[in-house]
Amino acid sequence: MNRAANDLSTAELRELYRELILDHARSPRHFGKLSAITHTAEGLNPLCGDKLRLYLQIDDDDRISDAAFEGSGCAISVASASLMTDAIIGMRTAEAVDFSNALIASVTGRDSPVELGKLQALQGVREFPSRVKCATLAWHAMNSAIRRDHNPASTE
């Protein structure tokens, strides 16, 4: 394999596996159960066996007062779930769903990237179409949980 191609390839890989992603993958935030759960959903990625359960606590004001997740998955899906839970706590559900849809559209490359703050780190998957499903799994699960959809959210 020639060196130039190799370097390019490595650069793209480093873009995908940024420090922030690897950090969240190794030490996911909000990992575990919640004491009071109002909404929950499962996310399954049959492609690689990523599997997570998302817990939300939504208050009377329709605000996500707490969020957590359990499960196992690749670095991308775990980091994505970790970053997501961090981001959505405190949002109203409608806001969270809008944000989620914007993120999904952005990483699938359908829209031009929106302002995502830290979640910008997930943009690396745009060059890796087969990994988009990993990045979006938690977000699909959140949408299901808010919709109170009882089928496992699948990215297929």
């Binding site: 191609a5 190799n6 390839s9 890989l13 596996y17 690689c48 990523d50 599997k51 991308i76």
Partner: protein
């Protein structure tokens, strides 16, 4: 070096390396690097001989089979039926009536579950599988359990990925109605002692289905010497087309089984008051068959036989040994599947890198491996892993492929050590 020269040299060395040039897909670059295809257990590539046989069929021979007097129909029928003969010879079936074309291993197993087993199972009857089965040899039996009230019994495996034969001995005597077992595990590479298992099952009068999807591409298979009742495999795993597979079954059993599907071709006579079924194997081939698929599979069998299944087995076995050695040396590697008798497959994990991430990093260097549960979730559960990375070999792989795999594992470690 010209192709023929290279071929002459490698043939002189007694290896089959030159056959790689027969596979156009292997000559491409992926992400800027020459493709290293280590995913043949999922689906193998096709040699030009197969690609051309299918195209040529459609250019000059195609028509519907069995039902026409015109020349093309006759030619298509001859081509389709010769493919059956070729396949019957390849697995040493007793006769061509025992070779049923299906859409693949999965359909072959569903056919046996529904047509052979469903009418004879009662609530509480037992179906014996092993823990290393592919989902295609689990789910059809679960559906059957739902339909009949029968129960699954599972032969456990050990840490190497071998069958627990002591438990099998007890289980086979506990009133089992069918044993359905892989010849070679797709997740672990374990070669099961099928002939012995069949012998024990026969002593108990238990019929046996062997899932040969991962065996037929990699070793000589003789269904008569195995003495199994049913043997299922897929075209696309043995350099043939997708959408075609085989159910081998003993004639006496097929005779007594009701049809699986109804339609054209599987009947002699249709009246609304009742219908007479066709002879074997046609009774089990409802509708227009996958004619070009069968012809492509015939071509694949000719191609593999031309090289020789013994030689292929030897080549792959040496290469697997090399692969396992080289991969074992990578620090942080955990091998999954270390049976004493193995074929063509090595699963592993590297550090705490998720297999899926590993797959992406390798792919970025042109190395195609499969990652995940390999449609064998119970195996993953046994090893308490969410999935593995799996490198799988075919006749066209060589040591360079293995070396490239090992190099790219090193790069994965580097990326993840940030």
């Amino acid at each position: 070096m010209s192709k023929s020269l290279r071929q002459a040299r490698s043939e002189a060395r007694g290896d089959i390396g030159a056959c790689r040039d027969d596979f156009p897909a292997l000559a491409q670059k992926i992400n800027g690097a020459p493709l290293v295809y280590l995913d043949s257990a999922a689906s193998a590539q096709q040699p030009v001989a197969v690609i051309d046989a299918v195209a040529e069929y459609h250019r000059h021979i195609h028509a519907n089979v069995h039902r026409g007097v015109h020349t093309l129909s006759h030619r298509a029928t001859e081509a389709y039926e010769s493919a059956r003969d070729e396949i019957a010879g390849f697995i040493n079936a007793g006769n061509r009536r025992e070779v049923v074309f299906t859409s693949g291993t999965t359909e072959s197993i569903n056919l046996v579950a529904q047509s052979f087993c469903r009418p004879r199972l009662r609530a509480g009857d037992r179906i014996l599988l092993s823990q290393l089965e592919h989902h295609s040899n689990i789910v059809p039996w679960q559906l059957l359990c739902d339909q009949t009230g029968a129960e699954l019994l599972v032969v456990p495996i050990d840490e190497r990925g071998e069958l627990d034969l002591a438990t099998f001995e007890r289980q086979i005597e506990s009133g089992v109605k069918i044993l359905a077992i892989a010849h070679v595990s797709n997740a672990l590479g374990t070669v099961l002692p099928v002939a012995d298992l069949v012998r024990r099952a026969k002593q108990q009068g238990v019929p046996v289905l062997v899932d040969g999807a991962q065996a037929v591409p990699h070793m000589p298979v003789d269904v008569q010497s195995l003495d199994c009742d049913f043997y299922a495999f897929s075209g696309h795993k043995m350099c043939g087309p997708t959408g075609i597979g085989i159910l081998y079954a003993k004639e006496a059993l097929l005779e007594r089984m009701p049809p699986y599907q109804g339609g054209g071709d599987m009947i002699l006579e249709v009246r609304f008051e009742g219908t007479k079924y066709n002879d074997l194997p046609y009774k089990f081939e409802a509708g227009t068959p996958n004619i070009s698929g069968a012809i492509g599979l015939g071509a694949a069998v000719r191609y593999l036989s031309g090289i020789g299944m013994e030689r292929i087995a030897e080549h792959e076995s040496k290469l697997l040994q090399y692969l396992t050695e080289q991969v074992s040396r990578v620090p942080g590697i955990r091998l999954i599947g270390t049976a004493r008798h193995k074929a063509s497959v090595q699963s592993f994990l590297l550090d705490d890198i998720h297999p899926h991430d590993l797959g992406t990093i390798l792919d970025h260097q042109g190395v195609a491996i499969r990652t995940g549960h390999h449609c064998a979730m119970p195996v993953m559960d046994f090893f308490r892993v969410p999935g593995t990375a799996r490198a799988s070999l075919a006749l066209y792989n060589n040591r360079v492929d293995v070396d490239r795999l090992v190099e790219s594992l090193a790069q994965a470690k580097e990326i993840f050590s940030q």
